[in-house]
């Protein structure tokens, strides 16, 4: 047995396909992006080495507007943690207590997660349509004509309007994770607390929340990194417009690559995004650890 299971060649052969795919598609590109980020390159002409100029230009050039795009992504992250997760947690707690029909409700709340973001985006485009969209139509029907807006075309409202579907779509996802965690709290804990006379709020605070802390950590990491790399919905809804009001790093990256032919700059943004995602994942992990300790 031992002999069979320690043959180096067999191990190598079993692990090779996965390793190769992993290195070629996931790992190597990170280094290649890093490498390209030092060049001025249009994708097919000659590469010109320009040192860290791309990085400098990225943060200083007004015509690229990277700080603003990054700011938008961070704002989205803050809103996700501040609005999306509390809503999800609230529902998860309400559902997790054991009410009639809780599974049914949970299943409904999860539907938006399953629908492709492109479709969610197309739907919301129609909801926001200034002339025929259901939102403005409803406002007009209620006599609130003053509140109608060109939601996605107005610099003042575009960012908010684009964020709403993003935040909405994944409430169900976080809710599901939290609900699963809450359901795994052993019933004896709850019962014991109830016998001691604890109220629902107290049970949630002192028993449920500490128990599902690992899940809260995962949800937070997903919400934050997901916000940093958000692309699909913004791309469909506004593609960064109007006037870059809704620009996020990913949409900026795509326009650098395929509109402005700046592969070097696109790679710079890509590389920074990875670094940011890793950094935030580490920081959030640290924060939760500190709280535990």
């Amino acid at each position: 047995m031992k002999k069979v299971y320690s043959n180096k060649l067999t191990i190598f052969l079993f692990i090779l396909p996965a390793l190769l795919l992993f290195l070629l598609i996931l790992v190597a590109p990170i280094f290649m992006s890093f490498y390209y980020s030092f060049f001025n390159w249009n994708g097919f002409g000659k590469k010109e080495f320009i040192g860290i100029s791309n990085y400098i230009e990225l943060f200083t050039s007004g015509s690229i507007g990277f700080p603003k795009a990054l700011g938008n992504a961070l704002l989205l992250a803050v809103l996700s943690v501040g609005i999306q997760l509390p809503i999800a947690l609230g529902f998860a707690l309400l559902l997790g207590k054991g009410r009639k029909g809780e599974r049914g409700f949970l299943s409904i709340y999860f539907i938006p997660v399953l629908i492709s973001t492109v479709i969610i985006g197309q739907l919301w485009l129609k909801i926001y349509n200034p002339s025929y969209g259901i939102l403005n139509v409803a406002l007009r029907a209620l006599g609130l004509d003053k509140l109608t807006r060109i939601w996605l075309g107005d610099i003042k409202t575009a960012l908010g309007a684009a964020f709403v579907p993003i935040l909405w779509q994944y409430v169900g996802y976080h809710m599901l994770l939290m609900y699963a965690g809450i359901k795994s709290v052993p019933t004896e804990y709850r019962e014991a607390a109830m016998i001691d006379g604890a109220r629902e709020g107290q049970i949630n605070r002192y028993i449920v929340l500490p128990y599902i802390k690992p899940i809260l950590k995962i949800s937070t990491i997903f919400a934050v990194t997901g916000s940093l790399k958000s692309f699909d919905l913004i791309y469909v809804l506004t593609n960064g417009g109007p006037l870059h009001a809704t620009e996020v790093p990913s949409t900026l990256m795509i326009s650098m690559l395929f509109l402005r032919n700046r592969y070097g700059m696109g790679s710079t943004i890509a590389f920074l995004l990875i670094i940011l995602c890793f950094a935030f994942a580490l920081i959030i992990g640290r924060i939760f650890k500190d709280k535990e300790g």
């Binding site: 002409g45 007004g62 032919n261």
Partner: protein, 451 residues
């Protein structure tokens, strides 16, 4: 940890060299395959086509394969022109095995760039002239057509070749050309007492004020697609600062810092402020705006003259007048200074196995696509027409008259500039439309970011 990083680095280096090898061997394979097929058929033909271009039909079993990529998808208004031209070509050249593929505009841009990067271009490809083609020429991927052009020079005036000329050499064959024109809905104008489009700027302003007072929106313009804003802005700047000034700025020969340009921008913004533009336009696509114009929501619509056929087919040609935007500063500009020019172009890949034959076919195709396109009303001919043009829709004929009287044309800014610069420019234009910056900030910003 260090060990891990070192290991990763080696792996990456191996991987990247593998990738490079893969690429090389891929190319070799491609080259070999090309050579073998070239030896049997292509080689002999490309030699013979020079001596007897008509005689190549002697060996019909040794067909020359030519592939073309273009943007004439089934929903494109140029589709019919391409189909007709290709049918003619196939009839005239049985020795050629011609295949073609159409991709939607936006996707095509990505696709052709990828093909250029991989050096896997089709023999003949559609391209936009000036900067778009220029990048490919710089990379050495486009076949120079100087020799072939000589044969067609009598039908294709040199002035039309200006946008495909790089370092004194020609790299493509233009198809149709278009200009920006002001389309006017005469029904709406009648409501405020005009029976034709205003011919002076003062009159235009009066007319717009009257329209606004009557609750009619004068202009429709898509803010979602910035090129639509440039159709307005460039015309206004040109009629304020003059065509030569704008041309020099686009070509990078003069600075953006120009008071007249700033003034033109402010005139445009003044018009927006006065409510001449549909505020919903900011969030609409051009298709939606155009549909609104056809439905009679706007009095004016400024856009490319390729729209003539669509308006004609929509059955509104009789109530539409097409005209030039009036002169704003008559000391700097005059009627006959237009925005537009030949942009749609066919070019030949340098990597084509039968580049010379392909170049000849390209010119023939360009000539007939131009002809059918013109007859369909999709634009004006870059090639001198030698056929009956009386059946062409009246709108396009009016445009032809306008162009015939023109003294100078400035090519669309986003075509004239390289991709990076063009997008910076478009950025500033969209800020103008949203009145986020004024004329001074526009010229200062562009002077700083582009030059």
């Amino acid at each position: 940890m260090k060990k891990v990083i070192a290991l990763l680095l080696t792996v990456v280096m191996i991987v990247s060299s593998l990738v490079a090898c893969g690429k090389d061997s891929g190319n070799n394979n491609g080259g070999n395959a090309g050579n073998t097929s070239g030896n049997t058929s292509g080689g002999s033909n490309s030699g013979s086509s020079e001596t007897n271009s008509g005689g190549s039909n002697t060996s019909s079993d040794e067909k020359i394969n030519l592939t073309m990529w273009c943007i004439a998808t089934e929903s494109d208004s140029n589709r019919h022109a391409y189909e007709a031209a290709i049918a003619d070509l196939k009839a005239a050249h049985p020795e050629i095995n011609f295949t073609w593929e159409a991709t939607q505009n936006q996707e095509y841009k990505t696709k052709i760039k990828a093909a250029v990067a991989a050096n896997e271009m089709p023999d003949i490809f559609f391209t936009w002239s000036c900067a778009f083609l220029g990048d490919f020429v710089d990379a050495g991927r486009v076949y120079c057509v100087d020799e072939v052009y000589k044969k067609y020079a009598s039908e294709l005036p040199e002035v039309m070749m200006g946008n495909v000329k790089y370092d004194g050499k020609y790299y493509g064959a233009p198809l149709t050309m278009n200009i920006v024109a002001m389309f006017t809905n005469l029904d709406l104008l009648k409501e405020v007492g005009y029976d034709q489009a205003p011919t002076t700027y003062e009159e235009l302003i009066k007319c717009c004020d009257a329209l606004v007072a009557k609750g009619i929106i004068p202009f429709g313009c898509s803010g979602k697609e910035t090129w639509c804003v440039t159709e307005y802005l460039e015309s206004i700047i040109e009629k304020t600062a003059g065509a030569s000034v704008l041309n020099d700025i686009f070509a990078g020969k003069a600075t953006w810092k120009n008071d007249d340009v700033a003034k033109g921008v402010e005139i445009f913004q003044e018009m927006i402020k006065k409510g001449y533009f549909d505020p919903e336009g900011m969030a609409l696509s051009n298709d939606e705006v155009k549909a609104n114009f056809i439905a009679g929501k706007y009095a004016f619509y400024m856009n490319g003259t390729w729209n003539c056929a669509d308006f004609y087919n929509a059955g509104i040609a009789d109530k539409i007048q097409v005209a030039e935007f009036p002169v704003i500063d008559s000391s700097k500009s005059k009627m006959g200074e237009l925005i537009g020019g030949p942009s749609d172009t066919l070019a030949v890949a340098a990597s084509s196995k039968n580049a010379e034959k392909a170049a000849e076919i390209t010119f023939e195709l360009a000539r007939s696509i131009c002809k059918y396109g013109y007859l369909d009303g999709n634009g004006l001919p870059a090639w001198t027409p030698n056929y009956d043009t009386s059946s062409i829709n009246p709108l396009t004929q009016t445009v032809a008259d306008i162009v015939a009287k023109s003294s100078q044309m400035v090519l669309f800014g986003d075509t004239a500039m390289s991709a990076d610069k063009a997008n910076i420019y478009l950025d500033y234009v969209s800020q103008i439309y949203a009145s986020a910056i004024d004329g001074k900030q526009f010229v200062d910003g562009l002077a700083k970011d582009i030059q």
